[in-house]
């Protein structure tokens, strides 16, 4: 292996993809037909969130050495990271066909199955990997992830304990154990593991995001919401859909009941208010509690730049809500409408920042359109311009469309 390739390999291990890319390109200047250099190029570009280029490079590597399992494995990695799971599965299956004795091939397969919410298949793949190499930390962790989603939380914790006993300085295992504790609604213990994971690898995003959740979960409201999010995350897509539809129609029924039986309103009204707050929080809790975390001395540093930007926009929307409520209480009815518009915009902000790449751009454009329609409609209503109602209808339809799209378009 050339010095440039060795360096590229090391830099990839050190999570320095831009430098690794430079070294791989230098290796290619000396020998343009090295599949390994193309593979490293693919991995470095994938790490820099440039999926199209990464896939192109990985495909070139496979083209140079189609009978090597390693290059199919790399191709599968970059496809998996680009959320192209079906193609990734095909590539890793090919890698396994060529070399069925490598545990890391099975850990990648398990990871692909997890992304597809095929918990049982993920568990099977991880266990096949562990049969080949019982020391494989990746397979052990993926087995634990699959187990927790299958509701076998105790076994999941034991699996990571076992991995940590073998390799106590493995950041991924600590992060995984942290998430296991979160699934068991124990954020304090989770924090200890996330802290250790971050000490071992401060760049591990899986641990940072876990730490963020654990810190937020110190608040009992968020702790409840997190338990709900994690529970929903363990369900299949079909069950998730059924749950949302049943809840929606159930609450519509309650609403109808309340209007037909005003005498029951003492019971039904709080129920409805709690439901609307809960629904609002399902969209915004993450960003809202990130905003609260900015008041915490340590917590504010755990937030990424992106999360801080999201909280800035969210805070602006909340100010809008408060101003609207203020005007509402002062007797100006448009104030209430303004508060609702800003509350809706705060949901749009949370949706936009929960996405990445092209999806975020499209949702961002949608949110800007929504803001223009809402604020223009409000302004026209205040100055009693005709057509305000039509624009506000556009706002409502736009919001419904955004919600539907957010439920069906991948992040």
């Amino acid at each position: 292996m050339s010095a440039h390739l060795e360096r590229a390999q090391l830099l990839l291990q050190q999570s320095r993809p831009a430098d690794a890319e430079r070294e791989a390109l230098l290796a290619l200047t000396a020998a343009p037909d090295q599949p390994l250099a193309h593979a490293y190029l693919a991995l470095s570009r994938s790490d820099q969130n440039r999926p199209a280029e990464a896939i192109d490079s990985a495909r070139t590597a496979v083209g140079f050495a189609p009978d090597s399992a390693f290059f199919h494995y790399v191709y599968a990695i970059v496809l998996h990271r680009a959320d192209r799971e079906a193609e990734a599965r095909a590539e890793i299956t090919e890698a396994i066909r060529i070399d069925p004795e490598t545990a890391s091939h099975f850990s990648l397969l398990a990871s692909i199955e997890l992304s597809e919410r095929h918990w049982a298949e993920a568990l099977d793949a991880a266990e096949r990997g562990l049969m080949l190499d019982p020391q494989d930390v990746g397979c052990a962790n993926l087995r634990s992830m699959a187990l927790v989603r299958l509701g076998r939380k105790e076994e999941a914790m034991q699996a990571v304990d076992f991995a940590l006993a073998r390799e106590p300085h493995n950041a991924l295992s600590h992060a995984n154990q942290g998430w296991n504790y979160l699934h068991r609604n124990n954020p304090e213990a989770a924090q200890d593991h996330f802290r250790e994971a971050l000490r071992l690898n401060p760049q591990l995003e899986y641990a940072r995001s876990g730490m963020l959740e654990a810190l937020k979960a110190r608040n009992p409201v968020y702790r409840g919401m997190l338990a709900y999010f994690l529970w929903m995350g363990r369900q299949s897509r079909r069950l998730q859909g059924v749950f949302v539809v049943v809840t929606y129609f159930g609450m519509n029924g309650v609403n109808g009941l309340a209007s037909h039986h005003p005498e029951w309103s003492k019971v039904l009204l709080p129920l409805l208010i709690a439901f609307y707050i809960f629904t609002y929080l399902t969209w915004t809790a993450g960003t809202m509690f990130n905003l609260l975390l900015r008041l915490n001395r340590f917590g504010r540093y755990v937030l990424s730049r992106d999360e801080r930007v999201a909280t800035n926009w969210f805070a602006a929307c909340l100010v809008g809500v408060l101003v609207g409520v203020g005007y509402g209480f002062s007797g100006r009815e448009e104030g209430w409408l303004g508060a609702v518009i800003f509350a809706v915009l705060s949901i749009a902000v949370s949706v936009v920042f929960s996405r990445r790449g092209a999806s975020r751009r499209w949702f961002g454009i949608g949110a800007i359109g929504l803001a223009i329609a809402g604020l223009a409609g409000l302004a026209m209503l205040i100055v009693e311009q005709p057509g305000a109602l039509a624009i506000l209808i556009v706002f409502v339809v736009g919001f419904l469309a955004l919600q539907i799209a957010a439920n069906f378009v991948r992040r």
Partner: protein
């Protein structure tokens, strides 16, 4: 690249095109690409690329042979012949040039000359046996050259079936594979790094007072007052590790340090040391240290030191560990005396450096080189605009507007301003000096590049700072845990 540029040819794989964009004057790469295009049938583009290689390296023999091949395939035999004839006059002539000459001569009807050249080619390199050509020249060839089966060609001789296929040009006589086969001990290091006497000193370094003070204490004073240090039994030498975001003047500071003490200066980059042959990198490193020891006082500066001293737990291969062991032993001066050799190193990623380098006697002072502060930015801008046409520049105002800019960012800012002024001067025909407004205008087009570095550094400072190593980063970011 224009639309007619051969580098835009769809026959070139995208990664190679990108590599060429990064390194447009890389003759070996251009040559490789030309070979690839030629093999894919892009003869005219290949011709153009081989010419480009020869413009860069007029004596590049493989490129000349490639050009001959391109000419031949286009029927430009006289052009091909002109080049081949100069090549075969060489002493000794390249075997492949002789083979090409034989082909061309046969086409021109000079069968006797063709046979003669073919015979010489095959005598020089038996792998060039060409059954078809030998058959055409059979009447003029001795019997032993008449059939490919008589000789024992290389197993992959079929690749060389067509001498104009250019496949053969990819493996020159002293190919890498033959070098690889050499035993390690046969590769002595003739590594000689460039020795400098830098003209820059601390007065050329804007700001960085704390860092300069540390270097003064650790490096400059021991050299200027050796008796004082001797009295206290303190050795002169040791190392300082400079770390910080890229483009903040670590290298410049190291050079200025050498200038300050009027010492020799050796700047070592990773490419000066790392080589693919087993054991060679260690030898190169030793040779560099030896060179520094023989040119005392000498400041030895390792740029991107994390490449040579990466954390051993990150390493998969033992080869990388060997160089770390060698580096540590050179720093310790186990087999030689490092007295008078001052070692500076710079890195953007101190967290990836093996902890062994931080032990006393090695890089025992670790200094954070932050982006320049306000007075430093003003000082840097003053230095950068020295000698250029400027009028009434409010350096403090520009410095205020460039918070978070590295030295490299400030240079980019000045470059942008100069380019804009040049454009104006070209259209108006008058040279107008640069002013505050011009510099402030440029700040809108260039943003600070160190933000990403601080995002990473912040994580290490927050989570992996048990020894307080990164307290300077926390202080710089005004963070308290």
């Amino acid at each position: 690249m224009s639309a007619n540029d051969p580098l835009n040819s769809p026959l070139i794989p995208v990664p190679l095109r990108e590599a060429l964009r990064l390194s447009p004057d890389n003759a070996p790469l251009l040559s490789h690409v030309a070979d690839l295009i030629l093999k894919s049938g892009g003869i005219e583009e290949a011709e153009s690329l081989f010419k480009r290689v020869l413009a860069l390296e007029p004596e590049n023999v493989p490129a000349k042979l490639g050009l001959v091949s391109a000419f031949f395939q286009q029927g430009k035999t006289s052009a091909a012949l002109v080049i081949v004839e100069t090549l075969v006059k060489g002493s000794p002539p390249p075997a492949r040039a002789l083979l090409l000459h034989a082909r061309l001569a046969l086409q021109a009807g000079e069968t006797r000359l063709a046979a003669q050249q073919y015979q010489r080619a095959v005598e020089q390199d038996p792998s060039l046996v060409d059954g078809g050509l030998a058959q055409d020249l059979a009447a003029f060839l001795p019997k032993r050259f008449q059939g490919a089966q008589i000789l024992s060609p290389k197993p992959d001789a079929e690749k060389n079936e067509n001498p104009f296929s250019n496949e053969s040009f990819l493996a020159p006589e002293s190919s890498e594979s033959s070098r690889e086969a050499l035993p390690v001990g046969d590769l002595p290091s003739d590594m000689q790094a460039e020795l400098e006497k830098p003209a820059t000193n601390f007065s050329d370094v804007g700001g960085m007072e704390r860092v300069k003070e540390e270097i003064r204490m650790k490096i400059i004073l021991p050299l200027q007052k050796p008796e004082l240090f001797k009295a206290y039994g303190k050795k002169v030498g040791g190392g300082i590790l400079l770390y910080g975001p890229p483009g903040c003047g670590k290298t410049f500071l190291a050079r200025a340090t050498a200038g300050e003490v009027n010492a020799n200066f050796i700047a070592v980059g990773i490419s000066d040391v790392l080589e693919m042959w087993i054991g060679q990198s260690e030898k190169n490193l030793h040779a560099i240290f030896e060179q520094a020891r023989t040119h005392k006082p000498c400041v030895l500066f390792f740029d991107e030191v994390d490449a040579l001293g990466a954390n051993r737990t990150d390493m998969l291969r033992s080869g990388g560990r060997q160089i770390i062991n060698q580096f540590l032993s050179e720093l310790d001066g186990v087999a030689a005396n490092n007295e008078g050799v001052l070692i500076l190193a710079a890195t953007n990623a101190p967290w990836h450096l093996d902890p062994a380098f931080r032990r006393p006697g090695r890089f025992d002072r670790i200094l954070f080189v932050p982006p320049p502060d306000l007075p430093a930015r003003a000082a840097i801008l003053r230095l950068m605009l020295r000698g250029k046409p400027v009028a009434d520049v409010d350096f403090d105002q520009v410095a205020k507007k460039t918070d978070g800019f590295s030295g490299a960012d400030l240079k980019a800012l000045v470059d942008l301003t100069v380019e804009e002024k040049l454009r104006e001067a070209m259209s108006s025909g008058q040279i107008r000096p640069m002013g505050t407004k011009d510099l402030l205008e440029a700040t809108k087009r260039h943003k600070a590049t160190v933000r990403d570095w601080f995002d990473t550094a912040k994580n290490y400072a927050l989570y992996a700072n048990q020894s307080g190593l990164y307290d300077d980063i926390l202080a710089h970011l005004k963070m308290t845990k």
